[in-house]
Symmetry: none
Subunit: 198 residues, 4 copies
DNA sequence: TATGAATGAGTTTTCATTCAT
DNA sequence: AATGAATGAAAACTCATTCAT
């Protein structure tokens, strides 16, 4: 019984991600979600309180995945040599890209849809973006202190890296059906490390 | 007479930019716009055909400003020396940032709001973004051919530059009340050129 | 087994009386009733056919108690002396008030909730009210024929007595936490008999 | 223009009184009101905020009429003789009955519908009922002090009078198509004054 | 040209009732 | 007999757009 309930909830979630991605938050109707999920209108409200709430739920789900990846990157820009650092950064970026591509729709909901819409979901977005920048900024300082990196201001540098990462990644995911993750990760890594060298 | 009409239209446009920026496209009501503009509900439709149309109008207005700047940058990455290129790039970026900050709300409507919302305005956005990438990509090839720049794929490199530019610029405009345009332009220029060096 | 079933039904009934009284018929949800009764949603429909039906059931339950009291009052206003009549009336009124206070919520559902709500339950209410007036009217005629009472029209007089009784009793039950039943019965009796004297 | 707006509002109000009276508050739909008023659904919301609000509005309208009648009765039970008092009371009751019959539907909404519905509108009802009782109670004390009336407790006596008045009046208005206002007023007056004599 | 009252289609949400377990 | 998940019809309310003045 409980298992079936959970299955229904997952159906609704999956359908919601799809139609939110397709039509945007505002333009998707609950009726779109339930139609795609194959359940009745009222069933939606057994599992979620409102359209807003399910959107938050989806964003939070991706946020957890994303932040756990950030946690694993604690010693980014800390290594025995610039080549060791390059390798670590490459692995990290590849993991990030893999996460984003595997959850493209969710990622886009949080990072793009969440960023617009006149403040309605800016809380979630700004919160996670600030976290992203702060952590990368800290790691960058490590690299600078060890003499591997050169930049004037950590926040600015972090913003450059992250901006480059998210904006171009979403571009590729949007316009290319498939792209070589390894190659893109490598190019990003090189561009970033070059950008932060003297 | 005609002058008064024009003034009314400008009032509506200015109000629309404000409330679109504040509440997002979907959540702004025509009644919000006309209230802020100080005109009657019906007056809106004497000047614009629909909510969609005024949004497009605003985006187009910024698009014109933006593309004319791009036109001026025809010989970007073409110069007598790397330092000459650096200076040209710096000037170009500073002009871009100046344009974006002077028209922050319009810029954000086009680049952020236009990017989300499930395809409703993706036409405008994707169109201008593609143009941006294509032109920068061409300029980059010039720079590569002359031996000033090193990268494997022009589209990828252009995407990096533009992603870095727009994503981080919007971040600064959103979270900082004021920031030093010169300094930011300089740092971006350096980061970009370093990123594109061997 | 059958005993347990009956207990469940009583739980639902008790809960229904409470929440109907608290929120009114329309505003109580079946989910409120079952929540208070501590049973599942579906269980309600094993015992009652609908929300209307349980409301009717409750009203009928009180109606039975009420009419049996009326039956006992067959020889009201029939007595050896005005003082004997006064005593009989006093006892009758006291019994009525006792019944109403002991079943305040049910009484209010029938007499107040049943009187409003645009005809939905007016059948039950009007039926019992008409019965009330008719019987009291008949008793009053007895009293008049024997020369104990004076009034022009029995229906009018009965309406006065009953109106006075029900309206003021509900007022006291609503605004006073406790009140002296004996005293109120005595005052009502005196007021009524005085009102019906020359 | 403004006049037409007002006319529309009055149409909606009249329709609302009708359908509230016919179906009760909960069971009337906005669509019923606007259908009867001959306007569109949205027009309702140009004039009233919600179903609750228009109900309050209607009750308040009657409340004003009612309280102004109460104001005029300041010297009730104050007179040169019991017969003078009887005449004053008769006039007052006749005015009240006239007001109630002329505005039967509104009166019933406030005094009956407002009394039930599980507390949703009890505020309005209880407020006006308490006012009624308090004022009549004060007048009664005057009559008692001058030796014209006899009763133990003014609140109880007032409650009797008012209960008799409202409950029986609504009964007559409900079951009789027409009734003689003068005759009913006279009978009520006599019953009340007799009821309050030794 | 400007006004603002009116329109009515469209969407969310609620909740009595059903039914598989 | 009891459960509680699922249903879907019904209703309030919003708001872009129209149109008479």
């Amino acid at each position: 019984m409980n298992e079936k309930r959970e299955r229904t909830k997952q159906q609704i979630l999956a359908a919601a991600i799809d139609v939110f991605h397709e039509n945007g938050f505002q333009r998707t109707r609950i009726s779109d979600i339930v139609a795609k999920a194959g359940v009745a209108q009222g069933t939606f409200y057994l599992h979620f309180q409102s359209k807003e709430q399910i959107f938050h739920h989806i964003c939070s789900e991706f946020k957890v995945l994303f932040l756990s990846l950030l946690d694993d990157a604690a010693d980014l820009f800390t290594g025995a040599s610039i080549e060791a650092i390059r390798e670590k950064l490459f692995v990290f970026i590849r993991e990030l890209i893999t996460l984003f591509t595997a959850n493209y729709k969710m990622a886009r909901l949080l990072f793009v849809e969440g960023n617009s819409n006149g403040g309605q979901f800016n809380g979630v977005y700004e919160n996670i973006y600030a976290e992203f920048i702060e952590r990368i900024g800290k790691h960058l300082l490590n690299g600078k202190n060890r003499g591997y990196l050169a930049f004037e201001d950590a926040e600015t540098a972090a913003t450059f890296l992250i901006g480059l990462f998210d904006s171009s990644l979403f571009y590729f995911m949007r316009v290319k059906n498939h792209f070589n993750i390894d190659k893109l990760s490598r190019r990003m890594t090189d561009f970033m490390l070059n950008g932060l060298s003297r």
